[in-house]
């Protein structure tokens, strides 16, 4: 059953409350949000296997803390889209602003356009596929998960990165502290292939380069471990 919520007629709080109140076995599995008008915090904190379509541009923190839901934004997304996502799938049809997928633990974030600065900052397991380019300082302190850019990457890529994997098809600017290029071995081609397939991207993995941690920073030395 599809529910249509027009944000010119009702409030964002009412929308989010209705989404939070859904029982586990809800039949209201398809939600359409009209006239989002760039409002902040749309469809945040969902914990149900539903589909939400946002018909327009979203403001800050759209789909934050998402669990289980498939959320599709037919427009651009503001700062921190899918921040701290736990699972599910968030698909931005346009561009994403800064800090897309920040601190997210799981799920899949797909951005059809470009993502600006600090994409995947402090990511903790999320998989992010950006079909355009990613801005400077992307994957800053990225701990786990995978970040893929079909376009270019801005400066200071992967600064202070831990165990996350970065794949870039285009050019990269400078690499951040302790980030280095690494060889694409068979398991990396396989990992990337599976992720591209899941994101619906038909692109040969041999055009990508892999980046990760050189493990030279302070915290990687056993003498500094607690």
């Amino acid at each position: 059953m599809t529910r249509v919520v027009d944000l010119q007629l009702s409030s964002r709080r009412a929308l989010n409350q209705a989404l939070h109140d859904l029982p586990d076995q809800t039949n209201e599995t398809h939600w359409t949000v009209r006239n989002p008008g760039g409002q902040h915090a749309l469809a945040v904190g969902i914990d149900a296997p539903i589909t939400v379509t946002i018909e327009g541009h979203a403001g800050y923190y759209c789909a934050g803390m998402n669990k289980h839901a498939r959320i599709e934004i037919h427009g651009n997304a503001g700062v921190g889209v899918a921040e701290n996502m736990m699972s599910g799938r968030v698909h931005v049809r346009g561009d994403a602003s800064q800090a897309a997928g920040a601190t997210a633990h799981g799920g899949l974030l797909i951005i059809d356009g470009n993502a600006s600065a600090r994409c995947g900052i402090s990511m903790k397991g999320v998989r992010i596929v950006v079909k355009g380019s990613i801005g400077p300082m992307s994957a800053f302190m990225a701990q786990s998960g995978t970040l893929v850019a079909l376009g270019d990457a801005g400066d200071a890529l992967g600064d202070s990165i831990y165990e996350a994997h970065i794949y870039v098809r285009g050019r990269t600017g400078t690499l951040g502290a302790d980030c280095c290029e690494k060889p694409m071995r068979a398991e990396h081609h396989a990992e990337l292939r599976a992720l591209l397939d899941e994101a619906g991207v038909d692109e040969d993995t041999r055009y990508f380069r892999r980046y990760g941690s050189a493990r030279q920073l302070y915290n990687f030395h056993v003498d500094n471990a607690y």
Partner: protein, 296 residues
């Protein structure tokens, strides 16, 4: 935190609605700046004449007294706490001298062929209403909503800042080297009326423009000379420009159509503009100067 809005028209057809669009954008940015607000609006020039915007109280008799002193009729249009004088450009220095001597309580917020500049303490929607922004026409306009974090909520601390003819700047962020930069600019003849860091950025651009730089060149060199966080939107008589610091610390989103270029701290501020659904919406890149100019 602050909110910035700007609208630069490419199509003269929208000129009568410039003020009403900007008023709507300012209102949406109340969440980012509820303390005070201000705006500069660029209207039609009148050959050989200068518009001078004054802020103060008890100004009803000011145009008459100034006219008598200058030997020239200087009409004044009152708008709430502000008044716009229209005077021959050649008389501007004498008018400034007279104001400094006889009305030191009155502040000149801006002057030039096209600019009018208003700022006040209060909610942005109230301020727009008090000055009847919705009834104003023009070619481009810039507005600011302020949430003061490091200095007092005063009208003098509100944006935009104007430090040169037809120039204005609004700023979201904070500068860390404004003291030293100010000491470099003051000997160059750049005068400041507040201790505000943003006014120093405006003065820096005024200095570079007076040295012959284009607006884009002046902003480009500011990347080297200014230290801090900033998103700037700058207006000149015919120009409109945007610059973000190299790590894009402060938010910015822009929309462009065949009819206009619009700037907002958040997309929400742009959501009410005409044909926004088909506009090219983009986020300005860090450390890249974006500039548009009308034919003079």
């Amino acid at each position: 935190m602050c909110g910035i809005v700007g609208l630069f028209l490419k199509s003269p057809a929208l000129a009568p609605q410039l003020g009403s669009h900007l008023a709507g954008m300012l209102d949406v940015m109340t969440d980012r700046g509820p303390d005070s607000a201000g705006f500069a609006i660029y209207g039609e020039p009148c050959a050989g004449m200068t518009k001078m915007t004054l802020r103060g109280s008890d100004m009803a008799g000011l145009p008459g007294a100034l006219s008598a002193a200058l030997g020239e009729t200087v009409p004044g249009t009152p708008r709430d706490t502000h008044m716009v004088l229209s005077l021959p450009t050649a008389l501007e220095p004498r008018a400034r001298g007279w104001l400094a001597e006889h009305r030191p309580d009155v502040a000149i917020t801006g002057a030039g062929a096209r600019i009018e500049l208003y700022k006040e303490v209060g909610r942005p929607a109230d301020i727009a209403r008090r000055f009847n922004l919705a009834g104003m026409a023009g070619t481009h306009a810039i507005g600011h909503t302020r949430m003061a974090t490091e200095s007092a909520v005063t009208t003098a601390g509100a944006h935009p800042f104007s430090t040169g003819p037809d120039q204005c700047l609004v700023h979201n962020g904070s500068l860390s080297n404004h003291r030293s930069l100010r000491r470099r600019l003051e000997p160059q003849g750049i005068a400041f009326s507040t201790d505000n860091d943003s006014e120093v950025a405006a003065g820096y651009l005024t200095w570079r423009l007076s040295e012959g730089a284009t607006l884009a060149e002046a902003l480009q060199s500011s990347l080297k000379d200014l230290d801090g966080f900033f998103t700037f939107v700058v207006g000149t008589e015919t120009g409109f420009a945007v610059l973000r610091d190299p790590i894009a610390c402060k938010p910015a989103v822009m929309a462009e159509t065949d009819d206009y270029v619009a700037f907002g701290s958040e997309y929400r501020a742009l959501a009410g503009l005409p044909h926004i659904a088909t506009a090219r919406v983009f986020e300005p890149e860090p450390a890249r100067v974006y500039a548009w100019t009308h034919a003079p």
